[in-house]
């Protein structure tokens, strides 16, 4: 965000205008709350003499500060500033208009609903220092070779989202969301998303190709005693280049089983992305044409994670996670990946309460690369929340 103060000022002005203009929000129905979190994480890569060659290792900090203002029962405004490796960003700047449980309109800058993890993306809300590989935003080893995960979380975009929840019974609930947002960006001759362009104010915070990306999410929650099962599916599609020629589709499925405070989570994501072949594909790509003599312009990137989280005492949580990525399809000549590359990662970690909402996170990760030597990463983090 080039001018976070401007965003705050605009939100405040809009909020003030809405309150004054509507006249429906009595003073005693106005509620405002502040929430914030911080994580300072140190990542060591003992299998490399200089970890920086393959990762954003050593210390990183993530800070978020969020203010939500309710205007009566149906309207609220939220704004959230995030500070991380990429600098200061507006993670949220939106208004919600709730008509009923089944219908909510969200307009502004927000994270469109996709899958399960993005709801818990804040480092104070998940127990590992980093994110599952499908949602990685630059903390994985070899992140530049892999161009991060499939849908880096939090994915923040401008647009509108309709969402809601319907209770069939007290114990059975269906959540849905449908949205239109600007979508990911890249240059005309792209072979994948350019995440820097997608969050950069240099190209203005507007859609780069005059066509919105569309998407949706649906999830069914069933509660049976101390057990809750959530199953859902998500999808989004559109184009990502300025010429509106390069298409992508992302699909996902998630499942969560909760037994009291023990959680088993699993998600699968797949992204099919069209690459610009260019004038001379033989010179541009590492592999030649297929049996039909034509270059396949698409690659498929799949990812998954499964995670078991359990409290052992009031102070100690334990986490075991298994996640992975696979990329199939042609690659640029400069890429170190092959036409079929894979990565599996195994993580064991713990989150220990120190005092209040201050926690220490410790985790060890084993990376099993198909194209590079295997690696080990160790994270030690301190997190706090308000």
């Amino acid at each position: 965000m080039s001018s976070p103060r401007l965003v705050v000022a605009c939100a405040a002005a809009l909020a003030a205008g809405l309150t004054a203009g509507s006249g429906v929000a009595a003073a005693d129905s106005l509620e405002r709350n502040f929430a914030g979190s911080i994580q300072l994480d140190y990542m060591a890569v003992p299998s490399e003499s200089i970890g920086r060659k393959i990762a954003l290792d050593a210390a990183t900090v993530e800070v978020s500060m969020k203010v939500t203002q309710d205007f009566g029962d149906n309207v609220s405004a939220s704004i959230k500033l995030c500070v991380a490796c990429h600098g200061i960003e507006a993670g949220m700047a939106f208004f919600d208009l709730r008509v009923a449980d089944e219908l909510n309109f969200r307009v502004g800058r927000f994270t469109p609903q996709f899958g399960s993890f993005p709801i818990r993306h804040d480092p104070a809300n998940h127990r590992t220092s980093d994110k599952p590989l499908p949602y990685d935003m630059g903390r994985m080893l070899r992140f530049s070779e892999w161009n991060m995960g499939i849908l880096p979380s939090p994915w923040v975009d401008n647009g509108i989202e309709l969402s809601g929840a319907h209770y069939f019974t007290d114990d059975v609930r269906l959540d849905y969301a449908a949205y239109a947002v600007g979508g990911p960006r890249a240059a005309n001759d792209a072979a994948d998303f350019d995440y820097k362009l997608s969050r950069s104010g240099d190209a203005y915070y507007v859609d780069n190709n005059s066509r919105p990306s569309l998407g949706g999410n649906v999830a069914l929650n069933i509660v049976a005693g101390k057990t809750t099962i959530t199953a859902g599916a998500s999808g989004t599609f559109g184009t990502y280049d300025p010429q509106n020629k390069l298409h992508y589709q992302i699909a996902g499925a998630h499942l969560m089983l909760q037994l009291s405070r023990v959680f088993l989570r699993a998600e699968y994501l797949a992204r099919r992305t069209e690459m610009a072949l260019g004038d001379d594909p033989a010179a541009r790509f590492k592999y030649g044409p297929g049996k039909n003599g034509k270059f396949d312009p698409y690659f498929l990137k799949q990812g998954f994670y499964t995670e078991l989280e359990m409290p052992v005492t009031d102070r100690v949580d334990l986490i075991a996670r298994w996640d992975g990525l696979r990329r199939q399809g042609n690659v640029l000549r400069t890429s170190e990946l092959r036409s079929d590359s894979a990565l599996l990662r195994y993580t064991l970690g713990t989150s220990i309460k120190v005092r209040g909402a201050t926690r220490i996170k410790l985790s060890g990760e084993f990376y099993d690369f198909s194209d590079f030597p295997d690696e080990i990463a160790i994270h030690l983090a301190v997190t706090g929340a308000l």
Partner: protein, 116 residues
């Protein structure tokens, strides 16, 4: 070779996880009622629900450190959380969670002096 090592790690992780899961289930942490002496049974039940629902998306610590904000704000928070996607919180649950939070709020005498 690396794949075999990986599978071995996965098997080890699964075994450790299963053992820990059993341990976790046998000795459930008290969460919101940590440090609260002799809560009434109905509050115990209400807080068991609150612990379970809140922990879906964030740690219980985030609730505990917010004590002292007053019941009006708790009401707003609980409603906001209910409306979160896949919160698993029903309309009935909001009353139960609120009952727990009222007890937790009342027990925190320091919080009322503004030291939550």
């Amino acid at each position: 070779m690396a794949m075999i090592r990986g599978l071995r790690s996965a098997a080890l992780a699964a075994a450790v996880s299963a053992a820990l899961a059993a341990a976790a289930c046998a000795d459930a942490p008290r969460g919101l009622l940590s440090g609260a002496p002799n809560p009434p049974p109905e509050v115990e039940q209400a807080c068991a629900v609150a612990n379970s629902k809140c922990a879906r998306c964030h740690s219980i610590d985030r609730v505990v450190v917010s004590r002292g904000i007053g019941m009006g704000k708790w009401q707003m928070y609980v409603e906001q959380m209910r409306l979160k996607p896949s919160s698993g919180i029903s309309v009935r649950d909001t009353d139960v969670i609120f009952r727990c939070l009222r007890f937790v709020e009342e027990q925190c005498t320091d919080c009322k002096a503004g030291h939550s």
